[in-house]
């Protein structure tokens, strides 16, 4: 039995080497983050964590998030739900939790048509790209694409309006989520 020990050790070493080689490091762990996780709380019925899909940089000055509720003085801190199909604004926020509330926030976003205080876009949150470094959503009914990349103290917003909204540019909800992540 003793004579087999060196062979067993060699086999064990080869096995360890093989495991080290075969297990690859994840090249892009930031792509594996799902910012919508925990954001599907439904009022008094159940809570999935009360989190927000915050886009920002590590130790960034602000966070940026989509808002699915109307933005007015009565909105309060429950302004996002992952299952809402209405998108009103993008929001600069400093809210760590709805229970604490927000401070230093403001709203912004694209509009087509007369300026309105309550813009309503429609989207499928799971069809948008919501990563820690990027927000990329295409919204109905005007097929507006909004992309936001954070910086340390701000953000870069790129909005793509439809080429010709007046002549049939209106789209429907199913057109606005080409990808499901």
């Amino acid at each position: 039995m003793v004579q087999y020990i060196p062979s067993i050790m060699i086999v064990a070493c080869l096995l360890v080497v093989w495991m080290c080689v075969s297990v690859h490091a994840i090249d892009h762990p930031e792509e594996m983050v799902n910012l919508l996780a925990g954001s599907f709380t439904d009022g008094d019925r159940f809570s999935t964590g009360n989190t927000l899909p915050l886009v920002g940089r590590p130790w960034g000055f602000n966070h940026w998030a989509p808002q699915t509720k109307e933005g007015n003085r009565h909105t309060g801190s429950w302004w996002f739900k992952g299952s809402d199909h209405q998108l009103t604004w993008l929001r600069c926020t400093h809210q760590p939790s709805p229970w604490i509330g927000d401070w230093g926030w403001f709203l912004f976003g694209p509009q087509i048509g007369p300026i309105t205080r309550n813009p309503t876009h429609f989207w499928e949150p799971r069809g948008a790209v919501l990563k820690p470094y990027l927000l990329d959503a295409t919204v109905a009914p005007y097929n507006i694409r909004m992309e936001l990349a954070p910086t340390d103290h701000g953000a870069f917003l790129r909005v793509t309006f439809p080429a010709n909204s007046a002549s049939g540019g209106k789209t429907y909800l199913h057109d606005s989520f080409p990808r499901i992540h």
């Binding site: 403001f106 912004f108 509009q111 300026i115 701000g154």
Partner: protein, 243 residues
């Protein structure tokens, strides 16, 4: 007589019938107003809301000399300030200030008795300053310098004064620039970049600061240089997270 009455009734029914036919056919007429084909539907804006833009400026001197910019500030800044009761010796009672974060709401002021004050070690002021409330707060905190009657048993407060109050003029300063914008429109608490009706891809560079408008500009120029594209900024953010 009956014949005439019948004729009138028949005429009446005929008129009603013809009127109904005409009314029915009116639905087939082309509409005079098609909502999605009017020119106002073509207006394109990127709006900012829930901030104060009155004190800000706007203009055309973006970094590359084109487009528009404007400045403003978000005033919904909240502080939780704890002060030991000996530091507020100027107060006969305990002023509990409660501010609503909204511009048009009233604030409540409650004065506690000395008995209640003795039970407390710290006074916590929850401050949500806006145009009016932080001014009110600063006035209250500067009372010790004027308070003489009745004599204050404790030495003058040197721990809290308006000069050292961080809340004075405190706000999240905002600056937004858009090289493609053709104008800036203000509507209530909104300020919007206007774009040409044929614009498709437009960019807005946003920066913030808690220090000053000048610092916002520094942050914007440092982090979002004109030659830096959106994709480069997104890739930069991605690689920071990757690291």
């Amino acid at each position: 007589m009956i014949d005439k009455l019948c004729i009138h009734i028949i005429n009446l029914y005929t008129l009603i019938f013809l009127s109904l036919i005409c009314y029915s056919f009116s639905f087939l007429a082309p509409p005079t107003h098609t909502p999605h084909h009017t020119s106002d539907r073509e207006e394109r804006h990127i709006c900012f809301a829930e901030a104060i833009w009155d004190g800000g400026t706007e203009g055309t001197n973006t970094a590359d000399g084109t487009g528009k910019f404007f400045e403003g500030r978000s005033t919904q800044v909240r502080f939780h300030l704890s002060i030991h009761k000996t530091q507020v010796s100027f107060l006969q009672g305990f002023y509990v200030l409660w501010f609503d974060s909204y511009f048009f709401s009233c604030f409540k002021l409650r004065v506690l008795s000395q008995v209640q004050l003795k039970r407390l070690d710290y006074i916590q002021l929850r401050i949500l300053p806006n145009y009016h409330s932080y001014i009110t707060l600063i006035n209250l905190l500067t009372i010790p310098h004027q308070y003489t009657n009745p004599p204050n048993p404790l030495p003058p407060n040197t721990q809290v004064n308006s000069d050292r109050m961080l809340v004075a003029n405190f706000a999240l300063r905002i600056r937004a620039e858009s090289a493609e914008a053709t104008g800036v429109v203000q509507r209530d608490d909104m300020k919007c970049f206007s774009y040409d009706q044929k614009s498709t891809v437009v960019h807005v560079r946003i920066a913030t600061s808690l220090i000053s408008p000048a610092q916002v500009l520094v942050n914007l120029r440092r982090e979002l240089k004109p030659q830096k594209t959106f994709d480069a900024v997104a890739l930069d953010a991605k690689m920071v997270w990757n690291e």
